[in-house]
Assembly symmetry: C2
Homo-oligomer: 444 residues x 2
């Protein structure tokens, strides 16, 4: 067991992920040295004033401090690992650490999605590496795969199930036919959803990850605020089931599609064919499908959250930094938002997709013809149409559900057509619009 290099670590934050990182560094010390030649030395655990978390986790009190500045003055600290989350203190801590000549490893997706360019510029100025494998899809090494494993590919599209909370809720809705509210309550009981689940179920967390992964996949600066985002919180189980009957599975997808030089980015509950590998991803698991010009379809699957899987990704970054790979990637690849051109992101109205539309109609003659006519006015071509029965939980309601699937259409046209359809007196409720995504189907 030869030590080839010692690496001093300071970890900021000692929550679920921070605790797991520290525990892996301490408990697997010999194994990590044997495997990597690196002697990882935990030199400090920084936490906010008054916190007792680190002490309660049994960390040596001599290592615990509230004073980041002091830690940064220690020349033995090579890498600062930021695991507090949020976009204020975390941002300051990372900027300070880089300025002090430390490499930084972070799991902070919100911060990178919104302030990536600033942080990478600071890293470049300092001549240090900023790594973030754990920011996307937990333990799945998707960042290193985009940086290195698929480096020779021009990425055509990327589809991610990158929020385990949402995937768990949707899996419950699909399998048990429970409502969104019931499935959410179950997820909370199982510890798979926060008490306030907004960031997850609204799609915001998925959008953070989509921004980070798209920047790497396409080598363009992504404007996070321009990504259209829709969550699963308004999804009705009726639609989940109607889609299922048509051969579709509902997933909250982070979608990035390249059409020549434009990118179509969005987070949406979307129907995918039941034989697409992403349709199989159940419960809290994550998966990312990447379509490369040379490699074709690849998919990466694993746990997208949790202390230990996320710590696996943080440690991978620490090791890659220790071996010099993070620096080599950062210095040479032109994928970093401080040096890349802004992406041409399609405005939401111009996104093209197939659509599932569901209406609640009064059961009277002529109305369907009128709906079809309006869709035609907006250049929306119908692929299939079927009238359904009211599901048991809706029999108190009036009307009949009517489902239409379309061929490729512009989203702007679809929302305008729906508005017009909703104004018909025979249309009893606002219509439902769900993306159908089957552009990269594989048959063999």
């Amino acid at each position: 067991m030869e030590v080839k290099k010692s690496l001093g670590l300071a970890v900021i934050g000692c929550g679920t992920v921070g605790g797991a990182v520290i525990s892996q560094v301490l408990n697997q010390k010999a194994y990590l040295t044997e495997r990597t030649g690196l002697n990882l030395q935990l030199l400090a655990v920084v936490q906010r004033s008054g916190s007792t978390t680190a002490a309660r986790k049994g960390i040596d009190p001599k290592l615990i401090t509230e004073n980041l500045d002091e830690v940064l003055q220690n020349p033995a600290v090579d890498i600062v690992v930021e695991l507090i989350g949020g976009t204020t203190t975390a941002r300051d801590s990372i900027l300070k650490s880089l300025a002090a000549g430390k490499h930084v490893v972070t799991a902070n997706k919100a911060l990178l999605a919104q302030h990536g360019a600033e942080l990478f510029a600071a890293a470049r100025k300092a001549g240090k590496a900023l790594s973030f494998e754990a920011s996307c899809a937990g333990g799945i090494p998707i960042v290193q795969t985009l940086l290195s494993g698929l480096a020779a590919n021009r990425i055509e599209a990327l589809y991610g199930i990158v929020n385990g909370t949402c995937n768990y809720i949707l899996t419950e809705m699909i399998r048990k036919g429970t409502s969104y509210a019931e499935a959410l309550a179950e997820a909370q009981a199982a510890g798979l959803a926060e008490a306030d689940p907004t960031l997850d179920v609204s799609g915001g967390d998925s959008a953070h990850k989509l921004a980070i992964l798209s920047a790497l996949a396409f080598g363009k600066k992504i404007k996070f605020d321009d990504i259209p985002v829709q969550g699963i919180n308004n999804l009705e189980v009726m639609d989940v089931n109607f889609g299922r009957e048509l051969g579709f599975v509902i997933k909250l997808l982070a979608v990035a599609q390249r059409k020549e030089n434009t990118l179509s980015l969005r987070v949406r509950p979307a129907f995918i064919w039941e034989d697409h590998p992403l349709a199989w991803i159940s419960g809290p698991f994550n998966a990312v499908s990447v379509y490369g010009s040379a490699v074709g379809h690849t998919m990466y699957y694993g746990r997208g959250a949790g202390g230990s899987p996320t710590a696996s990704a943080v440690l991978a970054d620490i090791i890659a930094t220790g071996l010099g790979c993070s620096q080599a990637w950062f210095d040479n690849l032109s994928l970093w938002p401080d040096v890349t051109e802004p992406a041409v992101q399609l405005p939401v109205e111009e996104i093209e997709s197939r659509y599932y539309l569901r209406l609640m109609l009064e059961d009277k003659p002529g109305i369907l013809g009128r709906v079809a006519e309006i869709l035609g006015e907006y250049n929306i071509s119908i692929s299939s149409a079927l009238q359904k029965e009211l599901p048991p939980d809706r029999v108190d309601k009036e009307g009949v559900p009517f489902v239409i699937t379309t061929h490729l259409a512009r989203e702007g046209n679809v929302t305008q057509a729906m508005k017009k359809i909703e104004s018909l007196p025979a249309v009893l409720e606002p219509g439902v619009i769900i993306n159908i995504i089957d552009e990269h189907a594989e048959a063999f």
Copy 2:
């Protein structure tokens, strides 16, 4: 588009993969430079005397040569890419190239599985890197994932569908109920099986990949000849279907399981539960499931063969070599068979698994009791037992098929018990033994 480093390449072999690599280097030159900062320069294409392949592919005649020695004298050549396959000329070429101070990239699984230690020792002596992403699972970046993405994990087990020909044949047998012979003929017609498919269908090719992946996953030297290997060529569709009725899907699996310090390695047609992600892998696709101590279950999916996907992996190695990562991994990680301890590989008799046993019995009383008695003598505990009807294609035969699934048992006991059972007069044919693998099932 800033060139940060020029990299001279010599490619040996211009077949399917060689041709695809050359085409990607030449046709994507600007894109690769833009993305990686590397200017990849194709300096020579080495092929055997008399071959016209390179010329027919339109490669500049000035680059084509039969003389490797001359190419190696060119100081501008940084990397030699070996893509001729086989274990004789390829071995010589790699040893020569390393001795001449060139980095080497290869896709040659047979060579690495059988002569890995020698080749890595030569690379170490030369201070150069030997990379081989394309040797396992085609375009899936599984080697880099084991080297880097999962570096902090102690790997518990690895299960691979790493031969697309076999997976295509099995998918046909499962979906259409065709016999092995018919499915093989279809695979050949579809260009997915060689005219002589022996290396694929016998499991030999999967064993090569298993040896390479296990060496990296567990950091031990693997004795290739000690890996028990069974192919799909004797598989009866009857058993595929009986297993299906029990909730199992048949796959040709490359299996590596760690139990403390021993490794249980084997290539086997095996039954896995239909809800395991590997059960979903259809047609010519490959996938590798890796269970890590920190990350839990991860899976990597993609095309395991074909010129363009394999070239994606070769290019990934070329880029990682150009950026210095290959060298950093090779110098620091203790996973290379020239420096690792030999693995303690369990002899085949000591492998523990669950088993599917199928007998053809005369339909007379008492015989089942006798079979159960013999299994008991060998400490084999029965999990389920069911008598089946003869399938339509076997109604000319006598007897009734009888299927037993066992709890965990030692393979030596199972084969001995089967031998004794086969000697009973009421047993009409040799019995069928198939592994059932469900050790790492995940439920949620």
